[in-house]
Structures are given as structure tokens and as C-alpha cells.
Subunit: 172 residues, 8 copies
Amino acid sequence: MGSDSDLRYMIPAVDVLNDFGVPNETRFVSAHRTPDWMHEYAADAEQRGLLAIIAGAGGSAHLQGMSASETILPVVGVAVEPNPDPMNAAFASEVRMPADGGPLATMGKNEAGATNAGLHVVRFLSHVFPELKQMIRDRMETKAAEVLAKDARVVEIGPHAYLQEQKAKSKA
Amino acid sequence: MGSDSDLRYMIPAVDVLNDFGVPNETRFVSAHRTPDWMHEYAADAEQRGLLAIIAGAGGSAHLQGMSASETILPVVGVAVEPNPDPMNAAFASEVRMPADGGPLATMGKNEAGATNAGLHVVRFLSHVFPELKQMIRDRMETKAAEVLAKDARVVEIGPHAYLQEQKAKSKA
Amino acid sequence: MGSDSDLRYMIPAVDVLNDFGVPNETRFVSAHRTPDWMHEYAADAEQRGLLAIIAGAGGSAHLQGMSASETILPVVGVAVEPNPDPMNAAFASEVRMPADGGPLATMGKNEAGATNAGLHVVRFLSHVFPELKQMIRDRMETKAAEVLAKDARVVEIGPHAYLQEQKAKSKA
Amino acid sequence: MGSDSDLRYMIPAVDVLNDFGVPNETRFVSAHRTPDWMHEYAADAEQRGLLAIIAGAGGSAHLQGMSASETILPVVGVAVEPNPDPMNAAFASEVRMPADGGPLATMGKNEAGATNAGLHVVRFLSHVFPELKQMIRDRMETKAAEVLAKDARVVEIGPHAYLQEQKAKSKA
Amino acid sequence: MGSDSDLRYMIPAVDVLNDFGVPNETRFVSAHRTPDWMHEYAADAEQRGLLAIIAGAGGSAHLQGMSASETILPVVGVAVEPNPDPMNAAFASEVRMPADGGPLATMGKNEAGATNAGLHVVRFLSHVFPELKQMIRDRMETKAAEVLAKDARVVEIGPHAYLQEQKAKSKA
Amino acid sequence: MGSDSDLRYMIPAVDVLNDFGVPNETRFVSAHRTPDWMHEYAADAEQRGLLAIIAGAGGSAHLQGMSASETILPVVGVAVEPNPDPMNAAFASEVRMPADGGPLATMGKNEAGATNAGLHVVRFLSHVFPELKQMIRDRMETKAAEVLAKDARVVEIGPHAYLQEQKAKSKA
Amino acid sequence: MGSDSDLRYMIPAVDVLNDFGVPNETRFVSAHRTPDWMHEYAADAEQRGLLAIIAGAGGSAHLQGMSASETILPVVGVAVEPNPDPMNAAFASEVRMPADGGPLATMGKNEAGATNAGLHVVRFLSHVFPELKQMIRDRMETKAAEVLAKDARVVEIGPHAYLQEQKAKSKA
Amino acid sequence: MGSDSDLRYMIPAVDVLNDFGVPNETRFVSAHRTPDWMHEYAADAEQRGLLAIIAGAGGSAHLQGMSASETILPVVGVAVEPNPDPMNAAFASEVRMPADGGPLATMGKNEAGATNAGLHVVRFLSHVFPELKQMIRDRMETKAAEVLAKDARVVEIGPHAYLQEQKAKSKA
């Protein structure tokens, strides 16, 4: 992450990796305040045994793309944008990388992006650690079951009652 | 790809995979005209032994996200946008995927995006096929050397002469 | 709807259909978490006797377009966007559908969009159930009368007094 | 249509309706140059026996929304935007209609939007003229078959040969 | 105005006209809920002796442009956009009017736009009522003097003290 | 105008004023290259007997707003934007003027904006020169008649023949 | 600054200059309410011994560009945009200045932009006052050290504990 | 510059510096293909005696911001965007730099931006080399004189003749 204020939006990536038992480290690396440290971190990452880097930053968001340019590891970017940015700066900075200039893989923003960044890495790692495959399937089925349960409930009690129930829960 | 008109923008992904000796297949799968076929393709992909899917489409660009939702393989999306779209529709469709709803990894658009999509997959596959690592390093060094050679040339002859030389080449 | 958090923004569609005595069902169908269920729902809809589908979802909003691709029923989409999205993702995803790839009819967003989605369906159904025609006319006249009453009031008491009255009401 | 320069982008709507044997008329009605005529056209449409209005216009694109406000018929809007508009004016004008203020159904832009506008209307009319249902299914199957044929071809000859074949065809 | 919720943003236009002694009326006219009334209001405006129309509405904002198309009076539009709209719909709807299709003059949004709409009308009316000219000059000088007084104060006490003073005032 | 390259987009304003017999002058005044001249022009305009200023410029487009701040005459702005600007800079610069900081009236862009700028001024001037009123009505009727004639023609020969006729004309 | 409400967003520029011991003055100059004063301020700035102007304003933001056009001093612009503007008006107004029409240097917005505006000026002034060079280096090292300290802490206690610590601090 | 294809858009910066007799060098430095070289170039720049860096790049445009983070010299950025980018990526990447994270000064795009980048640097350097001051004044006066000459000509022959003359020149 580029800043420690990004942590609360990026923690779901940590949680996903932990859920799947994938060891991971959390580091603060600022492209603009610690360019030397970014350089060193990206350059050493592969030798240190890392298999992928998930980079999250907002604003100009150079951390994501620069990291992709300074390592041979796959780099997955998450835009940290807690306050919607009319310029979409972080996304624009991520998805306009030149060919052969750091293949950055951009996920969504904030918590959703961080969750999916974790899952994207897990999917690829399942080719190295095949036991992850069934875990991915299970997780997808669990999420589907949650939707189906909600659907069964709204069919059972109707939309207005469901809405009331939902409001009651959110107050509780 | 969603349509055969996308092929010319996506072919660099094929070329990158071929450059690295990674076997690959090219298929047309339209989310909106062949939803059953999309469903079948994504659902069978893993059992058929595919390791990743690179999905390219333009406009509403549902192919990328839906594919990610229907397989446990990593899915990498490329926006095909030959005529700049003031709505940025394909990108918007790619980077707003919900958490746990198909972890789609978005690259840039058109040829640059396709090239980087290939490279992103290759980087991940290098954990399965370690011989890819040196090939990645070599390619990055070649690209760097091209820039350095141009830099040496512009230092040697100066910017105006360089520009003339460039124009002469593009005419030739 | 793609998620039960969409319900509060979509309920006006239910209300409109109920106002006109049009039977309807409310279901949760997530394009990304339950693609099989979406597929099944859309494919069976016509045989189950449904006459139209109103699909509401936010973010990447693939539910709307995919539903249109998987049924022969008319599909009307509503963008659920409670927090304004600088990318306009849901709209972009809706209005860039390819020709012959699912004719999705996009309404506005949130409650206004849901209300109008209900009304659009009712207008079409009035060709099947002609008694709806007069009901539509009556509703339009009621809405017009509300504006005219406000106009008469502001003419009567003047703009500053009207504003005071309005503030007083909103406090009460 | 708002202007006769819109005709070439809207003609696919005529073609779709003709393909399905749905009688239709093509008229020029400018919201800004002939507001009286627009008013008259929309007001009389239902009595003249029309079942739906497909309205296409660009720029401020008031024709679509105003038509929806002045009739009880369903109105389907198409944005005519041959030169991409960085303001997305026609779409913005269409999808911000107020609740109960003319339920306008917005399709995509230009030819694709016009095609889908025709198809959306046909889908709704299939509840009045059931013979349209099989025709819709047939058309969807034809479109799917086209994609599958292209897919079979690219599998057969490979992507580079396919691209060559495609270029050769476009020259011929 | 299109709706009575627009009134609080439009009242500065009333205030400006009152400040200059220009008689004015405040009316509610909805393009989408009362198209007939809009038509009647615009058509009769000139004969009733009005000299200009200031039209304020948000969302699709057709009131402004349609009014300009239905009268020979000058029409000045104000976008009512209390919650910033990422689509800039009201502005887009205003500034894409076709040539010779209602010359709509667009001011800024909300209170600032309403104030300036009033002032724009006053400037033009000063050719009919020359006594307005000196009043315009006086108002501009008053506004300038306010800035100069603030400038003198910040020079006197320095920026940090000024900021403290400002915060103290806003609390009081 | 800010630059002589703006002239071809602004000339319709001259033409409209000439059509109505309103005397006018065409001047080049650059906000950024000749700020003193802009200042002088705006400051002297009223004393020289001008009744309004139509200011056209592109890019940062400060000419429009600064002119409105430096005169008591009504100022009407036209955005000159021959190549669509994804930033919408000229419009943004025009419609964000502060309250009481130069009431700038913004029209559309290029030729359409220039035409309507001329018409807006003419409408206001019709209160000073009442003979303009009938001329405005006549022009509006002429424009309406053109649309109605096209409508009659498309009804007569049908849309496909009309399109052929249109293409034939544009070739001739 | 264009208005005294801009002061709280611009004060970091004052603070940076003070940190480096660079004398500075804070003035209110409104492009639209005090165009004469803006003209006078910019024209006299160089003779009064100023070395650079940092101009901050929001909305149409003409102050920045006009200042650059009316002096030979370097002008650095800061967009004051406390509420995100979907039109990005201030930036658009700043970065579309014509060639040779006032070379305006645009920094970011609000406090971050003001801080960097101060630093940009200090960097240039370091060629006139060489003692600033070491001060710049020291400040950059301090900022880097802050990031490294946070990184060491998150490594020490892990991301979840860090987040807890962070929340505890923000409450305290 | 990030790539040699940027040269034709950046050459006006070279020309401006040459016009003022300011020695300069033109180099190719790619943030994404040669991150080490970028690092080295920025780090050594001050010791090599450079006084400022003008960095031009398009797309993700990290070169500008990263350069500012890796040197104590002032850095001036130019967005190279020959084909308008609906995402405004290069600008977004430039103007969202964090406080104290590399004070990047952003100019306009392409040739106009490059010209103004040169002029901005020259203005600052005029504090080191005072003879530049008169040269700046002269250049501004020359540019103003060009506008005034055009204004005199359009007054002399009228707008339509001027337009004819302009068209004749552009053909010659």
C-alpha cells in the first residue's frame, strides 16, 4: 500500500489470502515519498520468494504500475478511492499502461477490489497449490447459497415485508 | 473474444503466448448472442485443462465479467475499444465487479491491453513453468535496450535531426 | 434484483404494478454470484407466464443485459446507484448493448427509474389489458394536477412565503 | 426522428419491424423546431392506432422524453450520436427523466440502438401477436449460429489465418 | 421552475430582480408532468407582457430548452443540481440545443446560476430601462469593495489570524 | 473571438445579426495574449454604443467570463470546440462563473452555438426594436416548415427511398 | 486567492514557504469581482519584487490563467475544489491554456495542491538561494522516514493490529 | 520523454529554450520500460548541473510524477495525448500527486503544453539570468501584436472577406 490510510480498504485482500491459507505480508511502500524503497521492494520481491504483489494506492496511483515495471512477478492493482473521484484518476493511471511496460492487472476499487484481488491471486495460485481449487468452488457456492436464501425469503414473505425485516435488522 | 471484429485487437495476446511457448486457443464467444455457449465454455474450461482465460470484448463488455463468474480459472479482461468511447463503457463494466462476484483482472485496451494480458498470464504461469522466468527477464531487457538505443541516438544527433530521421523512416 | 440491498430502490416498481393491479413477483438473482440461477430464471420466465422482466442492479450491472440475452421477453433495466458513480458504470453497461444482442430498455436510476420501469411495462401491457389505458390517463392527470395546485399556491402567496411554507412542512 | 439526418442511423428500426411484419410509419418531428407538431403527433398517436413510438434524436434529445410525456403509448428512445459526444448529452437527457414524468425506455445509440429498439417493441408486441414469439426465437438462434460458425472457423484455421481471411474479405 | 423543490435554488433570481425593481412572477411548470401547461405558458408569455423567461429545472431539464422553442422571448436556463450529477445531465441537455431550435442561454447551476440569470436579464433590460445601468455599476462596485476589504484585512492581520477570525465568525 | 481560427465557427452569429438587420462588428480579442486589449475592449464597449457582446473562444475560454466581468453589457458565450474535448473545458469554464461575478450566458458550441447566440441577442433586442418580433416569428415558422416538408416527403415515398434521395443529393 | 473561503485550502502553501524561510504575502484578488485589481496586482508584481505567484481559485478558476497572462513572473495554479466537481471545471480551465498565452503551471487541488505549489516554487528558488537545496533534501528524507516507520510497525504487529492501533489513535 | 513518438509533440519546448538561449538536452526515459534509467536520470540530474526537468509522456504518464519524486529539481509535466483520451488519463495521473510526494507542475497537452512548459521554466530562470526578463516581455508583446494586427485586418475588410482570405492562405 502507498499509505497507511489505505489499509482499511485493502484489509479484505489480507483476509481472503488468510481464508485460503495463503501466507502474505502487508507493507507500506510509497511511490512518491519512498521511490528508492519501492524500487528495492519490487526488485527483491521475487528473490525473497513472493509469488505475486497486490498493490493498492489512490490519487495518481503510480505504485501499481511502477511495481509492475520493476519486477517479473504478477502485479495486481487496487484503486483506493474512498471519496469518489470525478477524474477517476487511480483507474485511469492503472488502465493506460503501455504494452510491454509493466502488465498491471486492475481490479475494482476499495474493499470489493481488494477482495477480488485476493481471489484473482488465489485462482492463479491454484495451479501451484491444487488444494485451493476445491476451496474456491466452495466459496463460490457459499456466496451463491446466500443469494438463493435471500431469494427464497423474499418469495416467502413478499417485498414489502422483506424490506421491513431488512430495516429492522440494520437497526438492531 | 465476443466478436470476430475484436480479433485484430486481441491478436497480440496470442503472439505473446506464442513468443513464450505457451499453448493457447482462440475462440469466439458472445455473451449476448451466445449466452449458452459462453456458459458452457466457461464452465468446461478448467476440466478441459485451460489454466487461464483472456477475455476481450467492447461495448457493454459483459463477456469478461460473466466469464469470471462462471469458472474457477483466473480471468483477464481486455477492453476492445477501437473508437474511443466517451462513456468508457467497457472499462466501467470491468472495474465495477462486486466482491466475491467474479474476480476479473482488467488490463488496458486494444493491442496494448492484449499484449499485457498475455504477459500477466505468463508471469503467473512462471510459477508453474519456471523456465518462463528468464524469458520474462530477457524480454524486459530487450524492451529497455530499445529505449536506451533511442536515447543514445537523440543525444548523438540532437532532437531536430532525430525528428527528421523519424519522419524519413515513417515515409519509407 | 442483483442483491437485496437493491430492494429499497426498486420497490417503487412493485408499487406501480400493484397500483395498476398487475400481478408481479420480486426475486433476487445475482449475475455474478448466481450465474446459473440467472440463466435458469431468464430461460424459464416466458414458460412460467411472465410478460416482462424489470431488472435492477448496480456496479457492473450485467444482470440487466444478460437477462435480455437469455429470454424472449422484453427486459427493462434500472440502474441502482445510491452513491453517484463518477464512472456511470451501470448506465454505461446498459446502453452499450450490441445490436441483436439482447434489446435492453434502460430507464433512469433508483426510485425514479423503478417507477418509470413499472409505468413503461404498464403502457405496453395496456395493449393486452385495455382497461389499463384509462388508469394511465388518470394517473398522468393526477400528477399534472399536483403541479398545477402548487403553481396556483405560489401565485397566491408569492415565492418567499411559499418557501417558508415548504420549510415548515418539511420540519413538521 | 428529430431531423432527416437521423434517418440513416434509425433505419435499422424500420428494417427490424419490417422483418417481423410489423407495420410502421417513419416521420420527422423536431422537438425544437416543430414543438406544436411534436405535441400534436404524440397526442394523436394512440387514437390513430399506433401501439408504440420509437423516437430518435441527438444533441439535447428532448424529442424522446417529451414524446413520453405527451402520450400514453410506450416510448422507446434512441440516441443519435454519429460523432461521439464527450458530454454524452443525448443519453444524459434520456436517463434523467423524473418519476411519473414520462417513462422513457432508452436503448443504445445509432444503428445498434435502433435495431434493439425495434426488437424491444417486437418483444412486447409478441404478447398481442403471439406469432412473433417463434420469429424472435428464430432470429436469436440465427445470430447465435453466426457466432458459432465463426468460432468453428477460427478453431479450424487458427487466429492468424482467420485475420488474413477477414482482411481479404473486407478488401473484396 | 419544473418542481417546487427547485424553488430554494432559484429564489436568488427573484431576489436579484426585486433588488433592481424589475417586476416578476414565480410559476411552477413541469415539462414532463404538465406538457400542455408548459406549452400554454410559453406560448402566451409574450402576449401577457413578459420580457424574458428564466427557466430552472434539474435532471433531464427539458423545461429550459422546450420553453426556448415555444416562445419568441429570450429564455435563460438554470440547472438545478443540488447533488452533483456525474452525468452533468442538466447542463448537457441545455448546451446541445440545435441551431435555430430554441436559443437557450445557459447560466451556472443552483443559487449562483439563478443570481447570474437575474443579472443577465437585468443587463439586457437596461437597454429598455436605462436607469438600471447605474444600478448594475453600483452593485458591481459593492461586490468589488467586499473583496478589497477582505484583502486589506488579510494584509493587516496575516493569513493565519484571518483564518482564525473566519472560523470564529462561522461559529458565531 | 479569441483567435482568428475561431472565425469560421462564429460567422453564423454575424449572419444571424445581418439577417435581422442588426449592425455588428467582428473583433479579435485574446484573453491570454492581449489581456490589456480585452480589458480595454470590454470597458469601452458600452460607451461605444454596443448593446451586447457575443464572445467565442475555445480551450480555457477565459474570454467569455472575463468579458462579462469587465462590462455592464450582457455577454453571451460560445464555446469554440472543433475537435471534441474530453474535458469539456470551454463549457466548464463558462458554466462555473461565481454569483455576481460576471453573468455569462452560455450557448452551445461552434456554428450551432453561434447561430443561437445571435438569436438570443435578437430576442432581447426585440424589446428595443419591436420590428424584430415578427422577423423572429417568421424565421421560426420557416424552420418549422422545412421540417414539415421533409416529413411530408418521407410519408410520400417511404424511409428507404428518402434515404436514397438524401444520398443522391449529398453526392450531387 | 479568488475568495476568502479559499484560504483554508491554500494555507499549506503559506506554511511550506514559511517552513523554508521564504517571505510571502497572502492576498485576495477576484478575477470576476475585481478584474481591475487582478490586472493591477499581476502587472505590478514583478516591480514590487515578487519572484512568483501562487494563484488558487475554484469554479471557472480564471484567476490562475489570467494572472499568468498579465505578468512575466512564473504563476503556479491550485484548484480549490472542496466539493468534488463532476465537471472538473477548475482543472479544465487551468490545463487548456493556449501556447504563448500565459504559461500556467497547474498543481493538484486543495491542501495537497497548495503544499506542492509551495514546494515547486521552493525548488526553483533553490537556484537563487542555494541554501534551500539541503532543506528540500531534508524534508524529502523526513517524509520518507515517516513511511518507513509505518512500514516497520505494520511488519512488527501485523495488519489487523495496525488497523486497531490506527482506529484507537483516531478516536483519541 | 517517455517514448520517441512523443518527440514531435515536445519539440516546441526545445524550441522555446533555444529561442531564449537556454542550453538544454533531449533524452528518452521510459518510466515503465526503463525504470532503472529513470531512477538514475532523475537522481543524477541535479549533480549534472541541470536546473529543471520538463517531462512529457502519455497514457499512464508516470514519468512526470516519478521524476518529481526522485529529484530535488523542479519538474514540469506535459501530457502527450495526440488522440483525445476520454479518460484524460495523463492529466489525471499528473494532478492527483499527494502532498509532499513530488511537486509536479502540470502544463497543457501536446505542442501548446510543451511551449508553455518551456516558458514557465524560462520565467523562473529569469531570476537567475535577469537578461531573460526583457526577452520574455518582448515575446509577449510580439504575440499581442499578432492578435492586434489580425484585429485591425478584420475591421478593415470585414469578417466574410477575412474568412475568404484565411481560406485562400491555408490553400496556398
